[in-house]
Amino acid sequence: MKRIITIHGVVLGLLLLSGCSTMKDFSNTVKDSLFTYEKVKPWQKGELAKEDMQLVDDGMMTYADDHIYFSKEAATGGKGVGGGGCGCN
């Protein structure tokens, strides 16, 4: 398999680090997200209720992406079922 370090790889690194200015930030984010479990009470759900925190927060972009990648790649789906096919694959 050809693996080329493209400019994209460099940008990826920048992106991952852009949200974290230090290694400590990065490890905090990992800990806070995947390794912190709490039984969240209803009155603590303020952040979770915000539109930005929906798993699909922008249906328009998700729909467009799904169609682009459906017509250019072999793998499909994962997020849900249904939604309309097209002749592009």
Binding site: D32, L34, E38, L55, I68, Y69, C86
Partner: protein
């Protein structure tokens, strides 16, 4: 007296906790919302697609929500056919556009001109019972010159009493009808230009999904989905070709052939997290495999920086890879052909080749609280193919969307 503060706090919050929105649902303040989008997709020297998408969502009652989607696509340009070049051997050929042929100037069969428009409509109804049960019924239709699709789906989701976990299950059935724009489908492995044609192809696809969504902590939401699906019927692409080269000057080109059954599965994990800096991160990973021996990994990462006045900037990165389908080949090897004739199945469609794709993009916009959201994004996608006539494919995506809420 012992402190009763904690017990009073708990009693107070229990009293107020009924009716708060579930973490997995957006707040329903508005009565209806309209979202419109214009998308431009342009590959370097290949296809260009322009899409217009419109969505209308409305709460018809306290427990019922209806969504209508409309899509209109126009596609034009050229696409690799899978054939190897055979200069000058064909004058005109029937193509998707039904009017012209392969690019006459180059006389090449490896690129096919392409032009089509598509119209799609889908309808979805979500009914909520007692706030914890949600059932969706959906249907969709898509029509273009050489393809028609009709699908129905249903999904059921249930929250636990604490509304921390949601279990969901869904099933969908899609019926597609495939044909060349000039009618019919080609007989597999017949030579290109022979003009033989079979009936139009049809196929049925069943998909099922099981998922669990869980609130991990007050700033993180996670989801895992298991999906599996089966397609049966005509799965071949009626335009795609594959060549056999005898020597430097003699090439035969045939219509491809794919199995009439495909079983797909995937595991998809996704997370939304608000960081300590109040940025919102979305990360997902999908592992996919099917019985054509394609195995694929997809990673998608977005980080949204939010600013005063509802502005945001969101960089986006996606990485994709896949192995080749077990019947994918660059061309039909002459030695194999001499020994045993055509293989059972063969395709040179680059989309079934072993490949990697990376996407880098940026999305910027402004949220108008209670009124709507404007966003604009630019993305660059690059695919690299291992064993195909064309090594890479680059595409630019530009999309402008605006959502408006109404009372």
């Amino acid at each position: 007296m012992k402190s009763i503060q904690k017990k009073l706090a708990l009693a107070s919050c229990t009293l107020l906790s009924h009716g708060l929105p579930n973490a997995a649902q957006a707040a329903e303040g508005e009565d209806w919302a309209v979202d419109g989008s214009l998308l431009h997709y342009a590959e370097e020297d290949r296809i260009t697609v322009n899409k217009f998408i419109g969505t209308l969502v409305t709460n018809v009652s306290e427990s019922d929500k209806v969504k209508v989607d409309l899509v209109y696509d126009t596609m034009s340009g050229s696409t690799p056919s899978g054939a190897l070049d055979s200069a000058g051997s064909f004058a005109t050929v029937s193509t998707p556009s039904g009017a012209g042929g392969f690019s006459a100037s180059s006389g090449s069969t490896s690129i096919a001109d392409f032009e089509d428009t598509r119209l799609g409509v889908s309808l979805d109804w979500e009914h909520t019972k007692k706030r914890v049960h949600r059932i969706n019924y959906g249907s969709s239709i898509s029509v273009e010159k050489d393809f028609t699709s009709f699908g129905v789906n249903t999904n059921y989701a249930q929250d636990t009493s604490s509304r921390i976990v949601t279990y969901s299950a869904g099933i969908a059935a899609t019926f597609d009808s495939v044909r060349r724009s000039t009618g019919g489908t080609p007989e597999p492995f017949t030579e290109y230009g022979d003009g033989q044609s079979l009936d139009e192809g049809s196929r049925v696809t069943w998909d099922t999904i099981f998922g669990v969504t869980r609130v991990l902590n007050r700033r993180t939401l996670g989801q895992i989905n298991f999906s599996t699906g089966l397609s049966e019927g005509y799965l071949t692409d009626p335009y795609k070709l594959i060549s056999r080269t005898l020597n430097l000057s003699e090439t035969h080109t045939y219509f491809e052939d794919r199995p009439s059954s495909r079983q797909r599965s995937s595991v998809y994990m996704s997370m939304a997290h608000t960081t300590r800096h109040d940025n919102v991160m979305h990360l997902s990973y999908r592992y996919y495999w099917d019985d054509w021996d394609i195995v694929s990994n997809t990673i998608d990462y977005r980080l949204k920086f939010r600013y005063e006045g509802g502005f945001f900037i969101e960089p986006h990165f996606r990485y994709y890879d896949q192995t080749a389908a077990n019947f994918y080949m660059f061309s039909i090897p002459q030695e194999t052909y001499q020994l045993s004739g055509f293989p059972e199945y063969a395709s040179a469609d680059y989309r079934l080749d072993q490949m990697e794709g990376t996407t880098v993009g940026i999305n910027i916009g402004k949220t108008f609280p209670g009124k709507g959201k404007l966003r604009f994004r630019v993305e660059q996608i690059e695919w690299i193919y291992d064993n195909s006539l064309f090594d890479t494919n680059k595409a630019l995506v530009v999309q402008l969307s605006y959502k408006k809420l109404f009372e």
